[in-house]
Amino acid sequence: MILPDYYEFCCRVKIVAGHDALEKIPALLAEMGSKKPLIITDKGVAAAGLVDIVVNALKDGVTIGGIADNVPPDSDLRVVNQLAGLYRDNACDAIIAVGGGSVMDTAKGVNIVVSENATDLMAFSGAGALKRRLKPLVAVPTTAGTGSEVTLVAVIKDHEKHLKMLFTSYFLLPSVSILDSRMTMTMPPFITAMTGMDALSHAVEGYYCLQKNPLSDAHSLEAVNMIHKHLTTVTKNPADKDGRLAMAVGACLAGISFSNSMVGIVHNLGHATGAVCGVPHGICMAILLPYGLEYNMHKCGDTIAELLLPIAGEDVYLKTSKAERAEKVVSMIRGMNQELNSITNGRHPRCLQEVKDRDGRPVVPREILPEIARAALLDGATIYNPEDQDYDDNLLVLEAAWEGRPLDRSKIKKG
């Protein structure tokens, strides 16, 4: 095991997992001296009945200070300020965020406003502007994918001023993350598939990106093993409680890994594809992940090969020669996409040309790939990718991912 000349690793979030983890929230809040939480969520989560499950689990253990389900899909400063007002008016002393990335971002933003008594959130944007502990924040993720229950970042948009504020601080880490199988039981197969592949992309990119370290590696290996073992089975059988819990745990492990080692080309091109064409993040991750591995293979083939045992198990590992292990990892991940495509009757796309909108129209026309390749150059995720990306390389990867054919690695400009 390689000890880097220097590394940092941090995940201060307490993890509580189980089929009845939600019931532990009142005791956890009491430990932190809180008894009146504000629940922040969105309409989709509430409509799926998940907030009812949370409220029922809290029962008489705490007084709920309010339930706000108006978080928009894109975080919004106005909503942050409105929810902060609700928090103050109802004399709340903690936040429970139930939902995905946008809910977590909004809850973190509200927490800054109420803890710092801030009128201008902008004053706390950037890295390390927060200097003290915020109010207790309990994160309850409702997808097994984003890992935002363990990340120290929040993005809040000011739609009036057309500003996107980024906040980074260890104080933004939730106090506790609750991984409860009931929160993902109703996720439809198509969403289960793409969010699970999002988690896998965190684990895998976290394993090969430049800031990797022994602890992020260990989290990645655990995550890869759990996600590979359970993703296709829970997609096939959504009622698989143990599988759902394992996926929630796997996604959380993956979140810890990538938030320490950072992410690379898969996220870089994925962010750009999402921004230019509106493709859901998990779909981008699923499609691009095999290409990210192929693109970086000449730089870190041995590292990628180390993923084979946790992903494929002993039999496949033994039958694969050392020289072929990295490529076998890629084909295993392609195999997962293929299987998810079959289970979802084709809804889980295998390549960019297969991504369709609700009316069945293609979302990523081939002629838009140059625009995505250019947009990707502006995204920060390139910094931690092992190979230096440029426009030509980006386009090369995107073309292959559009067609769904393996990357011609001889054409990569090797830096």
């Binding site: 095991m1 000890l3 000349d5 690793f9 189980g18 001296g33 602890l215 260990a218 819990l245």
Partner: protein
């Protein structure tokens, strides 16, 4: 791993490890909103060199700091009270513990006293409620550690404190400080961390978050401890052991499986023997018992200790035996390199019968006291009566 019963995991400390890690300290302290730390250390136990390196690292950061370097191995709550007064009078806002063992135990309890605004630290007891997160607390280990520095436990003069809030916010592992010429010191730290993480790793109810720390610690120790003991000029291998020791503190704080840890602890408390000595001694009988109980638990050890190829190539039926062989070989190498500097039996350790009687008394109060005694019986070396 069976997740059905649910679990909780927490590791509140950040790890900064490697070259010039100390130079990041002012920035890290500022991120914890700390600008005036009190450094707690020991002239005699930690030595002046570590202090020089640490103060040098602050360089021209403009940070004011205070020192208390008078912690002794017999420290008690009187020392804690003395440091508490210095902290309050000097208006310090954070604590840095420089060193290992008792230095960090004292610092943890000072942090408890000053954060909870205790009027007289001598009144602290294991019954003291530790609720809110405490003030900013950094641990900077030297080579002479027990592995408990990063844990939720603190032991002082017979008093035992246990709270996740006692764990540091940050551990800084700098090769200038974690390196030592003394093979015995590093072997003690390595064996203590090895035993604790090994026991947690083979536990049936382990969780994957704790497991990530355990796997990493086990691999670091297996791959580096022999070299760290033999090639004493290699800073990187001793840094790997320091990493493993720090991780073991997280592991022991997140497991209920702690037979080896408790054995080490009781000897440390009563006869001031390093827990690594006792844990190293008891490893073989403990593993023999585990093997008899459920060999499948031992077989999984072959993965971190032997590596992917060895693990995959060995059929399941042979893995436990191979893992045990590997551990025996590994510990044989360590003890051979130490040339008798670490005792292998209680008799060799020279612990007299009357102190052993005290130790057995403590063990008798444990629910599994009979089992603990049965392990000690097997490493007594003949002359000790359990």
């Amino acid at each position: 791993m069976n997740l059905t019963n649910g679990f909780a995991f927490t590791c509140p400390f950040k790890t900064n490890s490697g070259n010039k890690a100390l130079e990041h300290l002012p920035v890290e302290l500022a991120a914890l909103n700390a600008f005036k730390p009190l450094i707690i250390t020991s002239r005699n136990l930690t030595g002046p060199r570590a202090m020089r390196i640490l103060t040098g690292a602050f360089g021209d950061s403009g940070m004011t700091m205070g020192f208390f370097d008078d912690v002794t191995d017999t420290a008690d709550l009187n020392i804690v009270e003395k440091i508490r007064e210095i902290f309050v009078k000097g208006q310090y806002d954070s604590i840095i513990a420089l060193g290992g063992g008792v230095v960090v135990d004292v610092a943890k309890i000072v942090n408890l006293a000053v954060s909870q605004k205790i009027a007289d630290a001598r009144q602290l007891s294991p019954a003291t409620a530790i609720r809110d997160p405490l003030g900013p607390f950094v641990v900077i280990p030297t080579a002479a550690v027990t592995g408990m520095e990063t844990s939720k436990y603190a032991f002082l003069n017979g008093k035992s404190f246990d709270s996740v809030h006692l764990m540091p916010d940050l551990v800084v592992l700098d090769p200038r400080l974690t390196w030592t010429k003394d093979g015995k010191t590093i072997a003690e730290a390595g064996l203590a961390a090895f035993g604790r993480t090994l026991e947690a790793y083979i536990a049936p109810d382990k969780n994957p978050f704790m497991n990530a720390y355990a796997v990493t610690a086990l691999r670091f120790i297996r791959e580096n401890l022999t070299d760290a003991v033999n090639k004493r000029c290699n800073k990187k291998v001793s840094l790997a052991i320091a990493n493993a020791a720090a991780m073991s503190g997280c592991v022991i704080s997140n497991t209920d499986q702690n037979v080896l840890n408790r054995l080490g602890q009781v000897f440390q408390n009563i006869v001031h023997v390093h827990p690594g000595v006792i844990i190293g001694m008891c490893l073989h009988p403990f593993l023999d018992d585990c093997m008899k109980k459920d060999s499948s638990r031992i077989s999984s050890l072959l993965l971190p200790l032997g590596g992917d190829d060895k693990y995959a190539a060995m059929p399941e039926a042979g893995r436990a035996g191979e893992a045990l062989r590997d551990i025996y070989e590994f510990s044989y190498e360590i003890y051979r390199a130490l040339k008798g500097k670490i005792p292998r039996t209680i008799t060799e350790a020279g612990i007299p019968q009357y102190l052993m009687d005290d130790i057995f008394d403590v063990m008798n109060h444990e629910p599994d006291g009979a089992y603990l005694r049965s392990i000690i019986d097997r490493v007594s070396g003949g002359s000790i009566k359990a």
